[in-house]
Amino acid sequence: MTAGTPFIAVRGLVKRYDDKVVLDDLDLTVERGETVAIIGGSGSGKSTLARLLVALERPTSGSILVDGCDITTLDDLELATVRRRFAMVFQRHALLDSMTVFDNVAFPLREAEHLPSSAVRDRVERVLRELGVDGAANKLPGELSGGMAKRVGIARAMAMQPELLVYDEPTSGLDPVNSRIVDGLIERMRSAHGVTSVVITHDMVTAYRISDRIALLAKGRIVAEGTPEAFLMTHQETVREFAQASGMDVARLGPRPGRMTPEEVRRAWYRAHEQG
């Protein structure tokens, strides 16, 4: 890695399923420690991008550079090593339903890291405590509520101590209270552990609250990108249409430390949209 090399650099990424083009010449950069929210409508290719980033799929063409190394050209063994640096929180949590919460969180430590059982126990207990689900350690995933399952999914990903954490629709299917709790957890993972995060979401409130940068994905490309504030104030038609269609309520926006106050954001939002 050389100075100035971005942590993740996606260049000219194309993904096709048969004749259907899902991602078309997509470019994206993610700096180390940054939280980038990828927003977009259903079927815009958000989840496919997430899966390509954690090497669950291979692109049709283009490159994904991690610390300057193109992971799309790696063979299977090398890819397995690289994949251990990443973790993904799945949309439907994807907990292994034959295992308890404890065993789910311990799974990557036993399978990929081959840690001794005492180290596994210590790390799992610590992560579960941090996510506030230590009381559910012996439960099966089927016995958990949606919010708790999401937390366990985050705990399982965090147990791997990843450098990059990709969240696929972390707040989908959750009520507003649980959605904001998950937002808080994502923010805490970044601030406490310095994890680089890519959050795939269609929830504009989540994108605004937790990200350093928002990118709008449409028709397989990033069509707009910027800080949350700049993103909301833009006059770009596609962004405004998406923000309005998503039903985002600027009155619900909470504070973002070190940035514009919610009141300033609201005033700027109304000004920008009245002008439009």
Binding site: Y17, V54, L56, L79, F90, L96, F107, A112, E113
Partner: protein
């Protein structure tokens, strides 16, 4: 003639396996993503090659995983229990009744020609060479492969397979290998159980209904059944077990489309398992006849 058929089978297998492997383009080590379109129908020519190619690649991947530590002993034992122990009841029940039906049919048929005393010999040979392994494989195999396809299919549509891969584990090692090993190990045991219980059922019914003493039935059967007969039946069982697990795992892994997809995968796995067991039975029988001629 026998040699010619075997030669053709060997040539077909030699040409077919690499061709099928080449046709499959998707199962590299990263595997098939849950976002990819649903698989083609296996009854279409292109779809058939697609499925055979993918199942072949999956099997080679699982065999390669066998040589990577740690051994999946716990998973394999769990599968021996799930696939084997829980199939004992159905294997015994069907074997007993098939044995009784066989005995009744042969006894009636042979009675006309005054050859009823040959019932034990015929039932013994047919059960050990063919019925115990094949019938058990078809009946129990349907249950096993449907269970495997439903379980893995449900995991596929709920992204659990993707989760396993993203957590640094190999689904072929964690899911496919234990099931292939488990099914391969339990099938011979189930076939022996079916042989013993089916033969006992036949013995009991001929004694009660036709007055052939159990001792006579047993002794005449023992005189006719050679060790070669037993081996020629039992040697098929691991192949049947592998077919059951491979078909179940393959249709499970390629499941797309939610609960409807799981249902479709389950049905297809039962149909394909039964078909492949009977097709492979023909070729295996030819091979065993060469090794252990009657």
């Amino acid at each position: 003639m026998q040699l010619q058929i075997i030669d053709v089978a060997v040539v077909v297998a030699a040409v077919f396996a690499p061709a099928a492997d080449a046709v499959s383009g998707w199962w590299r080590a990263t595997g098939r993503g849950s976002q990819e379109p649903k698989p083609p129908s296996w009854v279409e020519p292109k779809g058939f090659f697609w499925h055979v190619g993918n199942a072949t690649t999956m099997t080679f991947g699982a065999i390669r995983a066998l040589f990577r530590r740690p051994l999946e002993l716990r998973g394999t034992i769990a599968q021996v229990e799930a696939l084997g122990v829980e199939s004992v009841g159905i294997a015994i029940t069907t074997a007993v009744f098939v044995g009784m039906v066989m005995a009744v049919q042969f006894a009636y048929g042979l009675q006309r020609f005054g050859g009823m005393e040959y019932t034990g010999r015929i039932v013994g040979v047919s059960f050990s060479r063919e019925l115990a392994p094949t019938l058990t494989a078809v009946i129990v195999g349907g249950r096993m492969s449907a269970g495997i396809a439903a379980e893995i299919g449900s995991m596929a549509v709920t992204e659990q397979i993707d989760a396993i891969r993203s957590l640094g584990a190999d689904p072929l090692k964690k899911l496919v290998l234990p099931r292939i090993l488990g099914a391969t190990l339990v099938m011979p045991v189930l076939a022996v159980l079916a042989l013993v219980t089916g033969f006992t059922g036949a013995m009991w019914i001929t004694d009660n209904q036709f007055g052939i003493p159990c001792r006579f039935f047993y002794q005449t059967a023992l005189e006719s059944v050679t060790l070669g007969d037993l081996w020629s039946g039992l040697i098929k069982c691991p192949f049947f077990g592998a077919i059951i697990a491979i078909v179940g795992c393959h249709f499970g892994l390629v499941t797309r489309g939610g609960t409807v997809g799981v249902g479709r995968a389950t049905t297809m796995s039962v149909v394909v398992t039964s078909t492949f067991i009977l097709i492979s039975d023909f070729f295996l029988t030819k091979v065993t006849l060469l090794i252990w001629p009657s």
